[in-house]
Structure formats: structure tokens, C-alpha cells
């Protein structure tokens, strides 16, 4: 909603570019994918990607303060929190069996390089 309105304003000043349209379209597509995908880890990765795209959108809208906060908190810290929560869920879901430790180590392998 808000992005659409701002893009209209940008259009009025002749600032709307193909990049902005692509960015807005990708944002909506990634948001839908995030909600629709069944694999929880993929959903988390898509959520983090969505946060980074949203940071780009804020930067394009001329709000670098919000863009930085979105990239650092929305994508970075929230992403780490959600990954940690997912790892915890998987530890509960398969407590005691082989998959618990395997899933956890895989999770941290994914966490690490981010």
C-alpha cells in the first residue's frame, strides 16, 4: 500500500524507473513465496531476502535511516532469531532420535556464514 503510494509520488517527479518496478514486483513475489512455501527453512531464507529487498526499497524511497534499520534489525537480527527459533523447534520435534543432532548441526552450518 504504502510503497505503491510512494512510487506514485516518485512517478510524479519522473523518478520511477524500471528498477523500482522490478523491486516492487520482486518484493510482492518473495512475500507471497515466503507465506506459501512449505519448507520452513526455505521460508526463513525467503523472509531474510524479503527484508533485504525491503531495505533496498526504503533506500529508493529516500529513507536511508529506515533502510539501515530494516537491513540490520529486520533482515539481520530477526533472521538470526527466526533461524534460532527454527532450530529449537526442530530440536523439540525430533528429540532423542538421529535427526535431532543432524538437523541441528546442519542448521548451525547454515547459520554460520551469514
Amino acid at each position: 500500500m504504502r510503497a505503491g503510494r510512494r512510487i506514485d509520488e516518485a512517478d510524479a517527479t519522473g523518478m520511477l524507473s524500471l528498477v523500482d518496478l522490478l523491486l516492487a514486483g520482486t518484493l510482492i513475489a518473495v512475500a507471497l513465496l515466503t507465506l506459501g512455501v512449505r519448507d520452513l527453512f526455505a521460508a526463513v531464507v525467503l523472509f531474510i531476502s524479503n527484508g533485504l529487498l525491503l531495505a533496498l526499497a526504503w533506500a529508493r524511497l529516500g529513507a536511508p535511516d529506515v533502510a539501515m534499520a530494516e537491513a540490520a534489525i529486520g533482515a539481520g537480527i530477526t533472521g538470526a532469531l527466526v533461524l534460532a527459533a527454527l532450530r529449537r523447534l526442530q530440536t523439540f520435534g525430533s528429540r532423542g532420535d538421529e535427526m535431532g543432532s543432524g538437523g541441528r548441526q546442519g542448521e548451525e552450518g547454515h547459520d554460520g556464514p551469514r
Partner: protein
Amino acid sequence: MDLAEAGAARPGRAARIVLAVACGTVAAVVGWALASGGAGRGRLAADVRAALPRSGVEHPVTAVLLNFRAFDTMLELAVLLVVAIATGAVGGIAHSGARPEDLRPASPSPLMDSLVHDLVPFALLAGAYLLWVGAYAPGGAFQAGAVIAAAGVLAHFSPRFRPQVPDRWPTRAVLALGAGAFACAALVALAWTGVYLGYPPAQAGWWILAIEAAATLSVAAVLYVTFRAVMSADPSRRGTQ
């Protein structure tokens, strides 16, 4: 993943319809609010520009967050403090240091050690820079705190450099520092100038820097400690989440 099915029960048809109506209503109201053009949008920007010289900083966003609307920012810090308490972080700190779960190497990789060793100092430096530059350009306490917390999260995955969270009181003090410094500044300003959170304009820049420094530490501590609380799978706290 089977977790999605085994986890929370999927909402029924009626619940979905209620959710859809609620979401649609919110979207319609937000759209209407935007379409009707936020009242006084241009006037507020002009007011901020006019008052900027008396705010103590040169960046309008920081001026609004730390001076003109400082009360809102103080409440945000209080909310963060509540988050840290709600995640059980405050209660769990005392045990978290010595749990075998935590001492177990997270990912015994020399690559991770080297990455943390090289990257974390720069992340801390970037956080300090963001705090300082907030007076002149985009930046400020929340961004700086988030970057520092991200450095902590990164270091968490390296057994050699995992941050040590000290026992209860020092950590609790840092968690409460931001909201506390804000509240103290508000009361001191009240006694000094007679206005709640009304800093004396001549020294406002230093007041803001001091409050932001405290807020940065608190934001970083809250975010990292919350992450740590979610990350640690302590059986004794499983019922409390």
C-alpha cells in the same frame, strides 16, 4: 517439512474467513488513510526544519527521535527491555554461562574463527561510527545497537570468541541502561529547564549523544541476549517459552 503439519493446528475455515476480513479491513483503513493524504505532512517537515538549530543535532531524523519526540523513543527502549524480560533472558542469564549446552562447540570450524576474528572488530567499529554519525547523517542508536548485536550473534557461532554474558546484575544493568538513562535525563531536564525531556538547547548535542550511547549499549544487549535465550535449548526452560 513435516514440522509444518505436526506443529500448530491449522486454522479452520471460519477462523480463516475472520482473518481474511480482519486483514482486508486493516488494509482498507491504511489505504484510506494514505489516500486522504496524511494531514499536516508538509507542515511537520517545515516545523522540524525550523526547530533544527535548537535541537543540538544536524540530522532531522535524529532530532525528531532524540529531542522533539524523545518520549516515544524512551517508550521504544522500554518495549525492548520488556522483550528481553519476556523471552526469559533476564531470568536465564545466571545459568547460561556454565551450561554444557553452551560450552559445546557450536561449529568447530577454523573458517568461522577466522571470520569472527577479522570481521567482528570492524562491525564494532561500524556500530560506534553509526552512533557518532547519527548527529549529522543517517545513523543512530538503534542502527548502531543492531550492528553491534549482529557482531555478537556472529561471534556466538565461534567457540573461541563466543561472548561471555556475566552474571545477573551487570547484564541487567546494561539491559536497563537505555531506558534508565532516558528517564534520568528526562527528570534532570525537568529540574533544569522545567520541561520534561526539554534539554537546554546549548548542550542538547551532548545530552543526545550520552542518551544515544546508553541506548546503543542497551539495544545491542537486548537483541543479543534475546537471540541467546532463543538459541539455547535448556530442558528446564522448555515449558516457559
